[in-house]
Chain length 235, copies 2
Amino acid sequence: MTRNLIFIGILTLLFAAGIWQDGTVAQDTKIPALSELNEDEKNTEKVSLGARTWIIPTPVWVIGSYDKEEKPNVMTSSWVGISCSKPASLMTCLREATYTHGNIIERKAFTVNIASESYAPYAAYIGRVSGRDVNKFETTGLTPVKSALVDAPYIKEFPLVIECKLTQTVELGLHTMFIGEIMDIKADRSILSEEGAPDIEKLKPFVFTPGSSKFYGIGKLIGNVSDLAKEAEKK
Amino acid sequence: MTRNLIFIGILTLLFAAGIWQDGTVAQDTKIPALSELNEDEKNTEKVSLGARTWIIPTPVWVIGSYDKEEKPNVMTSSWVGISCSKPASLMTCLREATYTHGNIIERKAFTVNIASESYAPYAAYIGRVSGRDVNKFETTGLTPVKSALVDAPYIKEFPLVIECKLTQTVELGLHTMFIGEIMDIKADRSILSEEGAPDIEKLKPFVFTPGSSKFYGIGKLIGNVSDLAKEAEKK
């Protein structure tokens, strides 16, 4: 009798575990109602950190440009973002002290190059030495490709590249914002989804954490935005 | 004799596997020399995708603002980025059609609210309905807190909030860029590192993928930027 109960108990547990792992049920249990948050999450008393740029995470974009003598240069920038859908444009903010700053003003063009995780050490290195001192394409072995659309080089080995024409320059203080119109996005076939858009699970990009200066990979799919929105409405 | 050879072979394989899993050796093998990339990675022939904003990933920021009648509103924005270190500032780009666009022009202030994964459905919902039609704080149950520093509300339940004063407005086309000076960053204690900076592993933020409209979590630590840069130099 006792043995039978234990047996039934184990079966029930296995069954429950099965349901738990089932997508649909997990979906329903994923959103905590606000009252169901754990103690840590409920403690919303805020600590003031001051006027800082510790906002995590930020993208990691490698900016390509030519100098006056046609020397290709790259630098890593995380003060960046998409800025407009029509015309498609983006922005990168650079200190005047950087070599790229002068290049973009001179050439009125730049590229954005997105690395896969396997290139993270290159993106880190490119962000820490100046094109004034070294030719970073020579020191890394990466290959500059002259864009046919804009006056800037892109990195052949990086799987996603964006070619931009400078359209506006905004002075902000220590940083200057360069707004570029996107003339084309080019991608390796290997990182495209069946629908033909860049697939984050194939690209394997990574993000930067201001404040602690680390690179982190991308994790699991949380969901489609339209599906997630419906879940919140149910609450 | 043959048996002995097989036995030695197996021992060798086991030994090799052990070395492979050792941290130090794995570290050295982590960065592929460019010649060591796999066939997919070596195929760098690019496909043109056109002038699009399919750049992945982008941050997910929930922008807080008041309307003329003091009604608090929130909207989700991924055309965003840090823009300057001194003065610390950031930017968010919004279509004129959004309710928040008018609010920011009226109040000259906004907040940025960063959600943990558990709030992803809220961030998705907030991005898909308009503050013209509903009070999103009422429909979600989230709590607006009036900032003491700027004329905008932040979300009590979100663990990282940034209070901004509008400093510049840049017209870009479909989107208007609002540049805000960061007056303060506030964080829940539970998401801070021992050094007092926001810790991405505790915050658990997520990113948006333009092109496929999905949210993804953050994955594993790839490394400190300074350490990674040294690895690239070794190559």
